[in-house]
């Protein structure tokens, strides 16, 4: 029975990890799923709490997923950590793969407290800015906090790692394989055999989608962070879960209410196998005592006991279950100090300088947000940095911000037209954002969702500087925002900045490489206005008309 329970737990872990991967994969390739593709993010109480605190309202779609997780923890302890969490499972698998059994399980037990300090700091970074923003509406200056939850929450972290590291690696390999096969002429071989062509047609369609190369700048940092978390397993198994994870801390705290107890019978021979097997070091020295807050209910102890002395009961048991958090007041204050610092420190970051020097609030010159994004001060608190928008962007144009918006905008999505444009008929980022930091928008709204403005660099432009035929930017423009000025019989591009929304099609199409001759800047970003006001501005600009070429006049060579 005991081994079966462990088997059941492992099955559950694999099923949930598979569900996470499948949901991620299906959403990445735009396959509709019966459950929301961001179900795991929603189920994360920290994210749900943070999302609702930022929005200062109850968001039911978040609650429907988060409440079961909370209830589960109250009833059964950290079952989520041991049975569900895809991050925990990933760490388990990695530790198996790299034969990391950790050192002595009881090594540095005081580190366990760190996760509670992190939780305190994280919760403060959620509550204080939200409270302050409420105050802000009463006339007090607004503030923006650094929501540490997005960096430290395991689900957000794993989602981001999948989007920025795993997906590009997978697609790169598939693309390489696909191109190599085509290089060997397999399409022609297939073409000669009708039955074969029919048989592999779906595979080819799939390949053409999955082989699309995607790149994320500095994805290697995200990789380094995940590699670091796994490498910590050398010090102790599930180092992350036992010492650092703020979600684990929260669920463990709630799990204090759980009536589940382990009972160790007198048959115990003190062989210490359970102590050594415990992934999170919850059984420290004495097999008859364990820390309830640490236990992730993996039941490995039950499975490895050679004399089957351990059983699971509800209610009272003779085993000593220690539910103390062991936090000391000074450390808690320190943690609170770190939380406050996390809110304050971005205020001295250069992002603020950019904000002060620009016409917009909180915007650097290259801080171009996707359409539908909230005003910057709300955006950085509501965005969970999960990377969903970045991985779904079919043009690979949404990239994690690095310095553009300062520290508080780190890893939030920005449009980088040099990589790709905001495709005119696409509304995907708005449809996948789990927290509505990017609010859903329609194709019809896009002509008045101003992200920025394009500027022609006449010193680089083929038409302006070199007197050659080009106008690729004008060709590509979806909104007729680029006009041509005829000088010496040659058309030169000029921007109509009342119509340009800054989608970046021109910049991405510009043949001047690698430095383009037309650049989009955040200038003209109108997120601080309502959509109705933006639409009115667009209406005032009138109908775009660059006019037709006429048959008159020989102007080209």
């Amino acid at each position: 029975m005991s081994r079966r329970l462990r088997g059941l737990r492992r099955t559950s872990q694999l099923v949930f990890l598979a569900a996470f991967v499948v949901l991620f994969g299906l959403a990445a390739y735009l396959v509709a799923t019966p459950i929301p593709p961001d179900a795991f993010l929603r189920a994360d109480p920290l994210i749900a709490f943070s999302g609702m605190a930022s929005a200062r309202r109850v968001i039911l779609p978040l609650l429907w997923f988060a409440i079961p997780v909370l209830a589960l923890s109250l009833a059964l302890g950290r079952v989520f950590c041991g049975w569900v969490c895809p991050m925990g499972t990933s760490i388990d698998l990695a530790e198996r793969l790299f034969h990391m059994r950790g050192q002595r399980p009881s090594r540095a037990p005081q580190l366990r407290r760190v996760k509670f300090y992190i939780l305190v700091a994280v919760v403060l970074t959620i509550i204080l800015p939200a409270a302050h923003r409420s105050a802000g509406e009463l006339g007090i200056a607004q503030t923006v906090g650094l929501s540490a939850v997005y960096w430290l929450d395991p689900i957000a972290f794993l989602t981001r790692t999948f989007a920025l590291v795993v997906l590009p690696v997978v697609q790169w390999f598939v693309g390489l394989a696909n191109d190599s096969l085509m290089g060997f002429g397999y399409t022609d071989f297939v073409g000669r055999h009708d039955w074969l062509a029919r048989a592999i047609a779906p595979v080819q369609t799939g390949l053409s989608v999955v082989s699309r190369p995607v790149y994320f700048r500095l994805g290697v940092f995200t990789f380094a962070a995940s590699a670091g978390i796994i490498a910590l397993g050398r010090l102790a198994r599930r180092f992350w879960c036992r010492n650092l994870c703020p979600l684990g801390a929260l669920l463990g705290f709630l799990g204090k209410a759980s009536p589940i107890r382990f009972a160790v019978s007198d048959a115990c021979t003190r062989c210490m196998r359970c102590v050594n097997e415990c992934k999170v070091g919850a059984i420290t020295d004495d097999p008859h005592a364990y820390r309830g807050v640490e236990c992730i209910e993996c039941y490995s102890c039950v499975a490895v006991c050679p004399v089957s002395a351990i059983s699971i009961t509800a209610g009272r048991a003779q085993t000593h279950r220690d539910d103390r958090l062991e936090l000391d007041r000074r450390r808690l204050l320190q943690a609170a100090g770190v939380g406050v610092a996390a809110i304050v420190l971005p205020k001295i970051d250069w992002g603020q300088r950019l904000a002060a020097s620009s016409t917009m609030k909180f915007a650097g010159s290259k801080l171009i947000r996707p359409p539908g994004a909230l005003p910057e001060e709300s955006f950085v608190t509501v965005c969970v940095r999960c990377g969903e928008c970045m991985r779904i962007c079919p043009e690979n144009a949404l990239q994690p911000a690095f310095g553009e918006g300062g520290l508080e905008a780190l890893e939030t999505p920005i449009l980088v037209p040099q990589v790709g444009p905001c495709a005119q008929p696409c509304t995907l980022c708005g449809s996948v954002c789990p927290t509505r930091a990017i609010e859903p928008f329609t194709v019809e709204e896009k002509p008045h969702l101003y992200l920025g403005t394009a500027i022609v660099d006449r010193s680089m432009c083929i038409a302006w500087a070199n007197d050659k035929q080009c106008l690729v930017c004008q060709e590509a423009c979806s909104y007729i925002a680029i006009l041509q000025k005829q000088i010496d019989g040659l058309g030169r591009p000029v921007i109509d900045e009342r119509i340009c929304v800054g989608c970046g099609l021109c910049e991405s199409a510009c043949p001047v490489a690698p430095q383009r001759a037309i650049h989009v800047y955040a200038t003209g970003d109108k997120r601080h206005l309502s959509r109705g006001e933006q639409a009115a501005i667009r209406r005032q600009a009138g109908e775009p008309q660059r006019g037709g070429a006429t048959g008159m006049g020989d102007t080209s060579g």
């Binding site: 693309g175 495709a423 008929p425 050659k468 080009c470 590509a476 070429a549």
Partner: protein, 304 residues
């Protein structure tokens, strides 16, 4: 068989027809001779029918698809699918025209028909919104977005004046037959985009053409070496302003123009957009390079 060999054979045939003496006179004179010796090029212009019937009528007037596609051939169709625009916006080739060409190729015994373009807008959106993905697949073609560099191969263009090499679609190089399926549109930098301009869509490094000494010359250089077996110009709708992407004023000549001579088809196509062929840089240069005939009074037009 590569496209290069096709055009070389074609070139040799012309040269033989023109005779060596003509070559001595000079390039332009040589071309005159070639055009006359080969007889005036014939283009077929079909009108007043449904798009599918227009294609049938125009191709039949040239002797039917069997003239161009032999049983067992691999055929590459190159429509214009550059933009995420709907058919009624006239920024891409009419999907019904593409589908009908697919059906004709199939009836002529083609083994495989590939519909390929290198879209400028997001390719998935362009292929879908243009209606070409659905129409061509339904008609029995394989629709391919040529969006990765691995699908192209380096080709030296020995006869190019400005364009000396290009990364050309491998599928095109390996095809038995290429049929160009442009739509007639005005164009910001080249005034019009018709057949030979549409071939930019089989080139990966087309951005370099804009940086070269002359975009028009690059288009002509490419047309010298890459000569589709047949050009079928979609004039069902034309884009008259804000080309090549629009949205702009859409004209409805309701015609399909087909011809073996790409320059002749383009010369006629220019008139659909209210241009004279001699006003279009790349058409003039292609004519001068001997690709085909642009003088309207020397082109035999079969109206059907």
């Amino acid at each position: 068989m590569t496209q290069d060999e096709i055009s070389r054979r074609d070139f040799l045939r012309r040269a033989a027809a023109a005779g060596l003496a003509v070559y001595g006179i000079g390039e332009l004179a040589g071309l005159d001779g070639a055009a006359e010796a080969a007889g005036p090029p014939t283009i077929a212009v079909a009108s007043k029918k449904s798009p599918a019937q227009l294609v049938q009528a125009a191709v039949n007037a040239l002797g039917g698809m069997k003239q161009f596609v032999k049983p067992g051939n691999t055929v590459v169709l190159k429509p214009n699918v550059a933009w995420a625009r709907k058919p009624e916006q006239a920024a891409n080739t009419n999907p019904e025209v593409v589908a009908e060409v697919v059906r004709l190729c199939k009836a002529a015994g083609a083994r495989e028909i590939k519909v390929i373009d290198h879209a400028i807008d997001l390719d998935t959106a362009a292929f879908k919104m243009s209606g070409i993905q659905d129409a061509a697949e339904k008609a029995g073609a394989r629709v391919i977005s040529a969006r990765s560099q691995g699908m192209y191969q380096r080709v030296n263009l020995s006869r190019g004046k400005v364009l000396k090499s290009a990364d050309v679609l491998r599928d095109l190089m390996r095809a038995d037959v290429c049929i160009n399926l442009p739509i007639a549109k005005v164009h910001g930098s080249t005034k019009v985009t018709l057949g030979i301009k549409n071939l930019m869509g089989v080139v990966w490094d087309r951005g370099a053409w804009h940086q070269s000494a002359s975009l028009d010359q690059c288009i002509a250089d490419f047309a010298v070496q890459f000569r589709p077996k047949l050009t079928i110009l979609d004039g069902v709708r034309t884009l008259l302003t804000n080309g090549p992407k629009g949205p702009g004023k859409v004209g409805t000549p309701g015609v399909v123009v087909a011809g073996v001579d790409p320059v002749a088809v383009d010369a006629y196509g220019a008139t659909l957009l209210n241009f004279k062929p001699q006003d279009i840089g790349h058409i003039k240069l292609a004519f001068a390079a001997g690709v085909g005939e642009m003088r309207l009074d020397r082109i035999k037009v079969k109206h059907v």
